[in-house]
């Protein structure tokens, strides 16, 4: 009987070993599949059991995690949610994360390799792990001014520090409240999501970075820069500025927005042409310079490049291989030229910063869980768009636009403001987009701003000066504290 007992014992032990083999399969080889399987709440719960780091503006907090009594231990909350929504993004159990919540997730969740030492200390001390923090480059007053000035109209505002590329304000309108999407109630989240997505005004669109529109007359800054850089033109160079001009190779005529000639004997200086936004003079200038020169100049300002702020901005576009009429239209920011508000702010900032375009950024500091500074963002140049001398000339021309030309609504008492208006036609029959780009103070600018109201934000009479310039003025005043 003992032989049978030994065999049975071997069999029973084999069954136990089979269990161990199968457990190795489940816990090691299949573990990753199971962890990522739909319906597995463990990963989510683990993520929410950690205190996610805050987003800071100076000493203010705009996004933080507060403890709850839920199964999900922390709730993400946003101060002034809609105002900062295009910056913070949301942090949702259903739809994941967006904007900085997504881009800076490694820091905020504490998974970033820079936190290795912190994590080790937390492990040894048995403390609950905590994420790191980020400090933003945003100027709270400018952000509030931008959001309030947009006042629900469809549009975007971007303000930059020309010397560093720091984004001082980045507002979108209409916006949404990330608090609702970041709640712990999947049903509310889903309903809100559906409503937001059905809204034709697209409140979740990050307009300053994602929306590209024809920049219209604000693009004349790029054409003027190309003219100065060619060495063939100065601010006082004389250009033809008739009320209307026939575009070569076509039957079409191009007219000035006033419907009249730009100067005596249909002649106008470059400075005067910018001040009154003379279409015929700039169309002529564009054709003289050629599409290649315009394209090169546009690229130096950042067109055709992609920028991670850290959210990736849409690429602004200047078309290649243009014929004469296309070049003429492109020189005044029409035809297929497309730009984001960020891009037009970078054009103004480049002119303001003696011709050097800085790379835009939103995160100025990365901080550890205990708020010790781990990394400061070092500003870096994207390109030299024009010489320092020509930049100074163009700055004076921009100041002239606000002081004596079409940008009168951007004036700020006591300081010189530079700017350029734009009223861009998109599709015939639809109302135009109102643009304004500005810099202040004029001599040594510390802020560059771009404002765009899509289809004039719903206004009947669309003009950059009437609609966009006052918003730019408010944002610049907020930055300059005046």
């Amino acid at each position: 009987m003992n032989r049978q007992i030994n065999r049975v014992t071997a069999g029973l032990i084999f069954l136990m070993l089979a269990l161990i083999a199968n457990l190795s399969f489940v816990q090691v080889f299949k573990a990753k599949d199971y962890r990522n399987a739909a319906g597995n709440q463990r990963v989510l719960r683990a993520e929410y059991s950690r205190e996610r780091g805050p987003m800071l503006l100076g000493s203010k907090t705009i996004a933080e995690s507060v403890p709850t009594k839920d199964t999900l231990k922390f709730l993400r909350t946003y101060a002034n949610g809609p105002e900062y929504a295009p910056i913070t993004g949301y942090y949702s159990v259903v739809y994941g994360a967006s904007a900085l919540e997504l881009q800076e997730n490694d820091v905020l969740s504490g998974n970033d390799s820079r936190f290795f030492v912190d994590r080790l200390q937390q492990l040894i001390a048995g403390r609950k792990p905590k994420g790191g923090a980020i400090r933003l480059s945003i100027n709270a007053a400018a952000q509030t001014a931008a959001y309030k000035a947009l006042n629900g109209r469809t549009g975007a505002v971007v303000a930059l520090d020309p010397q560093t590329g720091a984004i001082l304000a980045m507002a979108t309108s209409p916006s949404y409240d990330p608090n609702t999407l970041s709640s712990h109630d999947p049903q509310t989240i889903q309903q809100t999501w559906d409503v937001l997505n059905k809204d034709t005004d697209k409140p979740m669109l990050d307009r300053p970075l994602a929306m590209t529109l024809p920049p219209g007359s604000t693009f004349k800054l790029v054409t003027a820069a190309a003219a100065l850089e060619s060495g063939n033109y100065t601010a006082s160079s004389s250009l033809p500025g008739p009320a209307q001009m026939k575009l070569p190779l076509t039957d079409r005529t191009l007219g000035n927005w006033t419907g009249s000639s730009c100067g005596k004997n249909d002649k106008v200086t470059l400075e005067e042409a910018l001040a009154i936004s003379c279409n015929t003079a700039f169309a002529y200038l564009g054709m003289q310079l050629g599409s290649d020169a315009l394209e090169t100049q546009a690229k130096k300002f950042g067109f055709e490049s992609s920028f991670d702020v850290p959210m990736t901005a849409a690429t602004s576009h200047f078309p290649s291989h243009l014929d004469a009429p296309q070049t003429a239209m492109s020189a005044i920011g029409q035809y297929d030229v497309r730009a984001t508000a960020l891009q037009m702010a970078m054009v103004a900032a480049g002119i303001a910063n003696d011709g050097v375009v800085m790379k835009p950024y939103l995160v100025s500091q990365v901080l550890g869980p205990d708020l010790t500074i781990l990394q400061n963002t070092t500003p870096s140049a994207f390109s030299r768009a024009m010489s320092s001398e020509n930049a100074a000339i163009l700055r004076d021309m921009m100041i002239n636009v606000v002081a004596h030309g079409t940008g009168s609504n951007a004036r700020i008492p006591g300081i010189k403001v530079g700017g350029k208006t734009g009223t861009a036609e998109n599709t015939p029959g639809e109302s135009a987009h109102a643009w304004f780009v500005g810099i202040a103070p004029g001599d040594n600018p510390s802020v560059a701003v771009a404002v765009v109201l899509e289809h004039g934000g719903g206004a009947t009479e669309v003009s950059g000066n009437a609609l966009a310039a006052p918003i730019a003025a408010r944002v610049m005043r907020a930055v300059l504290d005046r």
Binding site: I5, L19, V28, G126
Partner: protein, 458 residues
Amino acid sequence: MTDLARRYRVSTRRSAELALIIGAWLLGVFAWILVDGATSNSSLGGWTSLISAGVLMLVTHTIIRWQAPYADPIIFPVAAALNLFGLAMIHRLDVSAAQRAAANETAAPTPDVYLQIMWMAVGLVLLMVVLFIVEDHRQLQRITWISGLVGIILLFLPLLPGLGSTVNGARLWIHIGGLTFQPGELAKVSLTIFFAGFLVVRRHTLALVQTKILGVGVPRPRDIGPLLAMWLFALLVLILERDLGTSLLFFGVFIVMLYVATGRRSWVLIGSGLLVVSGFLAYRAFGHVQIRFDVWLHPFADANGNGYQIVQSLFGFANGGLFGTGWGQGYPDLVPFAKTDFITSALGEELGLTGITALLLLYVILIERGARAAVATRDPFGGLLAIGLTTVLALQTFIVIGGVTRLIPLTGLTTPFLSYGGSSLVANYIILGLLLRISNAARRPEITMSTEMIEVNQ
């Protein structure tokens, strides 16, 4: 040491047992401290529970020392270690339940660990009672048929109207006063005694070979009666109580014991054949068996319905990975029935593959020790009973852990010594008492033999 042991210098190894018991208890204490540390728990009093468990184990050890001094010194500490790990996990899940209640602002439920320690006490007392009453395991052979009858009565007790109740689809429970009990667990013991007594008498007849097919001896057709009876009995359990696990366990144990008694592999083949046939019939006839099979093959096809339990269990194991999340740091409460059928999934999540392998090796040790007693005992009845009881523990472990890890279809059974549940714990401690009694007989020096050997040595 008894006089006998001192005279013949046969070591009882009782002090080794004591050392192992203390080691097992300390493991339990560490687990408990880690649970409380990780969950910031201080309210559900740990030391009362731990000290009660420790005292119970020491008392049992003292009784073993007195009543079965030559018993195997490893068997009891291994079971105690499993029991303590089970208690720590039940406590850990109690903490989760209390935290959830606090979050919902409802009253915290009574910790299940208190009741489990009470059942541990009942189980250990019965283990001691077994050692007192059953002075020699051969006494049990005399009650073969009574055991069989008692086993059948126990097994079908839940079918009585008014007494039995259906829980989670299976009719396995009886209510007496405020307590619920699963008499089928005790039936494991009495039926195994019956099988041993019955088979030890008939083993020579059942081993007779009439013809050979492909070199394998085939028993006489008229001897197939007992196996067929057992098969029908197992089917009856499945049909009347809707319990696949118990049915499978009894049939498996019977086949193993039949093989050990007769040495005929053909019985195993015939038995396996019947198992396949009944499995197929059950699949066709019963919706609940069909669901079990379908969920086994495609658990994710209905991950939020019938597949929910097994899918959550797999998620738990996966979350544990190689080293586990650590005591108190996983989410074992997401798995349904985590304290009972799915306790291995909870342990697998928090202790990882390494921890669960260690626990399975404890079962391997238990199997090996039970088998050693079976081999060493001097009478065939004792050997058959010991291997039968060992098989009960091993097969039950395999069926339930294989089920929760999707190695085999899921059937409801408790994990011996680990799971929450009084009936199972009590029955398994009675099995342990019998194994200790048999191993005591196996290891006890036989006076005449020893004297002769001493004389030879002189």
